[in-house]
Symmetry: C2
Subunit: 134 residues, 2 copies
DNA sequence: ACGTGGTTAAGTGGAATTGTTTAAATTCAT
DNA sequence: ATGAATTTAAACAATTCCACTTAACCACGT
């Protein structure tokens, strides 16, 4: 029954940082190097990012699988695919073409390179038209 | 650059679970025992709980320390303590007495037993009157 | 050019997590 | 109360994560 993702060390550093202290100052206080403070702070942010991603995933549980975008697809063809699959299921997607592309880029940027889909992407659709990528 | 907290195994089990499958059925599908499915599902939920707690903590970063509720305090005395400390700082709490108690129970249920505060609770206050417990 | 603040990379010891099995215990509907 | 579903405990190997050091690198303002 541990508490959050962040370690005591990570929390302390985030707190001090929010107070405006420099990494060097924090290092002096907690007795370590500025490089170490930097590393710990970085992994703290990484943990927060993963926490968000995890919560995001839980939303996709309420969504149903819609389709898969194959690796190598042209990014600009993705919205039409999604609109079509959604209309088949009788659901109106709550994004337009541009909105969908932006949503995709925000959600799984590591799977997109310019106009190219570099890795296969799973698409999920909510009853209220929300879209999730994975 | 890993993605969320949940492992592939944990995500698959949560998905199948949401589809209504039993642990035995899932065990057959992914090739392991029902006991193992249970364990993995449990640790998945544990991870989700920690994700929530983590982003909850991030909110407290924007908040300032308000006061500490000592272990053994009567739950019903907590709101008045908080209202008083908040008014000293010139901030209007955005909850009434009942709302605060509910907020507290939702936020740190493991620190509350009936009317008794069993473990010390840190209280944080936002500029807009939001309250966070830890 | 120097100092300050921040970031990065490689490596290390120790702690924690994951998936697993086996076996026992518990809940729960019929 | 019988059986199915779920939960728990203990133990284990493999993996991952944490904090840390050292040493270097980048960007800046003076």
């Amino acid at each position: 029954m541990k508490d959050g993702l962040l370690t005591e060390r990570q929390r302390v550093i985030l707190r001090h940082r929010r107070q405006g202290l420099t990494q060097q100052q924090i290092g002096d206080i907690i007795g370590t190097s500025k490089a170490n403070v930097c590393t710990i702070e970085k992994s703290a942010f990484e943990n927060v990012r993963r926490a968000h991603e995890t919560i995001q995933f839980m939303y996709t549980l309420d969504a149903r699988f819609l389709c898969v975008i194959p690796s190598g697809a042209d990014l600009l063809t993705v919205p039409d695919t999604i609109f079509h699959e959604a209309s088949v299921r009788g659901v109106k997607v709550r994004y337009d073409t541009i909105g969908l592309i932006n949503r995709l880029r925000d959600s799984v940027p590591e799977h997109v390179k310019a106009r190219l889909v570099r890795d296969e992407i799973q698409v999920y659709l909510n009853d209220d038209g929300e879209i999730y990528f994975e």
